[in-house]
């Protein structure tokens, strides 16, 4: 576990791969094969992602200015390249969580860590790590084929928790929150707006009773 090869040959060689597995798989395969190819053929991957480690990857991550999948001639975004790099590096958990909450305020690094967590953590841990960010409403630039648009961290996180496809990537099927609650693996989520919601509910109840 002391280091990894500067290039991704070991990661990409299915037969020869002997590194740690995630859910019984070579972590690279959390990204579909065609998309892997799109990533490794970019200039960004070859020139900017070569020989990065957990610290020097930050240089690239803080320079990101949009999230997204592929665009134009199916070109993979720097965001995807860095996700793939993380799959190769498999940083220690505390480092991933440090990225996620980085107090320096690098929001694209937070988004990157969130995506990686969605791909690699166990279900309960995913909810626990990501849900607090549903209160984070920093703006994120998102690139789609038809151009740029604004989304927000909380929307991005909500999408990661509820959708099957994000940033051109098929996400493995995350069990629904409700199921994990039924199994008593997760407590019910309390919205930061819970008090206000309760007040609204009471008002509605009163109004209904008034009608009767």
């Amino acid at each position: 576990m002391s280091g990894h090869k500067a290039d991704a040959k070991a990661l990409l060689d299915d037969r020869g791969y002997s590194g740690p597995l995630i859910r019984g798989e070579n972590p690279a395969n959390l990204i579909e094969k065609p998309l892997q190819d799109r990533i490794t053929e970019t200039y960004y991957w070859k020139e900017q992602c070569f020989a990065l480690n957990e610290a020097s990857l930050c240089d690239r991550a803080v320079d990101m200015n949009f999230i997204g999948g592929t665009y134009g001639q199916q070109k993979a975004s720097p965001f995807l390249c860095l996700v793939f790099k993380l799959l190769q590096l498999q940083p220690e958990r505390e480092i991933v969580l440090y990225y996620l909450h980085n107090e320096e305020g690098f929001k694209y690094l937070t988004a990157l860590a969130a995506f990686y967590i969605r791909l690699t953590f166990e279900p309960v841990e995913i909810y626990k790590a990501l849900e607090p960010l549903l209160s984070d409403y920093r703006k994120l630039r998102r690139r789609r084929n038809d151009g740029f648009m604004i989304t927000h961290m909380d929307q991005f996180i909500d999408d990661l928790l509820t959708k099957d496809r994000m940033c051109g990537t098929t996400l493995w099927k995350l069990p629904k929150r409700q199921l994990l609650e039924d199994l008593e693996l997760l407590d019910e989520r309390v919205s930061p707006l819970a008090d206000e919601i309760e007040a609204i509910d009471n008002e509605n109840d009163d109004a209904r009773e008034g009608d009767e």
């Binding site: 500067a6 020989a51 480690n53 957990e54 610290a55 020097s56 930050c58 803080v62 980085n102």
Partner: protein, 52 residues
């Protein structure tokens, strides 16, 4: 260059610690703030020279 140092002769990349990551991000933050400051100073001097 950094990545050559990282890579060394073996083609192995040294794994970073949490402390490395912390320091790196703090440094990047400082760097960014200084760049911003420089921009402001730059703008000021340009405005001043224009007034002269």
């Amino acid at each position: 260059r950094q990545h050559l140092a990282n890579t060394g002769q073996s083609g192995e990349v040294r794994k970073a610690t949490l402390e490395d990551v912390r320091e790196r991000l703090a440094w990047l933050k400082r760097k960014r703030e200084e760049e911003k400051k420089d921009e402001v100073i730059d703008l000021k001097t340009r405005l001043e020279t224009r007034q002269q």
